[in-house]
């Protein structure tokens, strides 16, 4: 799954640790989501969307194939 998390985080000038604090997850989790190695659960995806005041589909996108 593709996502714009890194871009959105950079726009807010937050570090991965800042974002991890706000989402109540580890920095490693934020890093794994940003590098698209880990797909977040639905509650976490909602949390991310709420934090950036966006819709889930504006942040996360399913791979075409």
């Amino acid at each position: 799954m593709k996502n714009r998390l890194r871009e959105l985080r950079a726009a807010k000038e937050w570090s991965q640790s800042d974002l991890a604090d706000k989402l109540d997850v580890s920095r490693q989790t934020v890093n794994a989501i940003e590098t698209e190695k880990y797909d977040p659960s639905l509650p976490l995806a909602f949390k991310v969307a709420r934090l950036f005041k966006s819709k889930i589909e504006d942040i996360f996108e399913l791979d075409k194939e």
């Binding site: 109540d24 580890s26 920095r27 989790t29 880990y38």
Partner: protein, 133 residues
């Protein structure tokens, strides 16, 4: 705040406390087990003594499960994958031993399964952690 500060996470504190209680109970259970065994060597109920250390161990296991379920979702996934690998690999290794035993393999000691389980857990943890790194 919970994950990135240097302070120990609250659920980890609870976990360590519960694990300490469980392991203390286990040690006391072992001593009680040995004491009762040597004082009732011929009792037909002596095999029930094994429950004395096993019951606190079950509490320690429940503490581990609670700790894992309180973890961050990715950490939890890594732990669960490592535990699943460990459980399955230990099970299959023990089962495979039955075949080599008939071919004259050395006797398998029950405690080996315990060491093997931790070794497989370490291997599983390494590969699972690397996948999300």
């Amino acid at each position: 705040m919970l994950y990135t500060t240097g302070i120990m996470k609250p659920f980890m504190k609870k976990y360590l406390w519960r694990l300490t209680v469980g392991m203390t109970g286990y040690v006391l259970g072992v001593f009680a087990c040995i004491y009762f065994y040597f004082h009732n060597k011929h009792s037909p109920h002596r095999y029930w003594l094994i429950l004395l250390p096993v019951i606190p161990l079950l509490y320690a296991v429940s503490a581990i499960i609670r700790c894992v379920s309180d973890m961050d979702e990715m950490q939890r996934k890594i732990q669960i994958e490592a535990m699943a690998f460990s459980g399955l690999a230990t099970g299959f290794t023990c089962f495979s031993y039955l075949f080599v035993r008939n071919m004259g393999a050395p006797e398998f000691h029950a405690q080996w399964a315990y060491y093997m389980m931790w070794a497989y857990y370490g291997i599983g943890l390494f590969f699972s952690w690397r996948r999300y790194k």
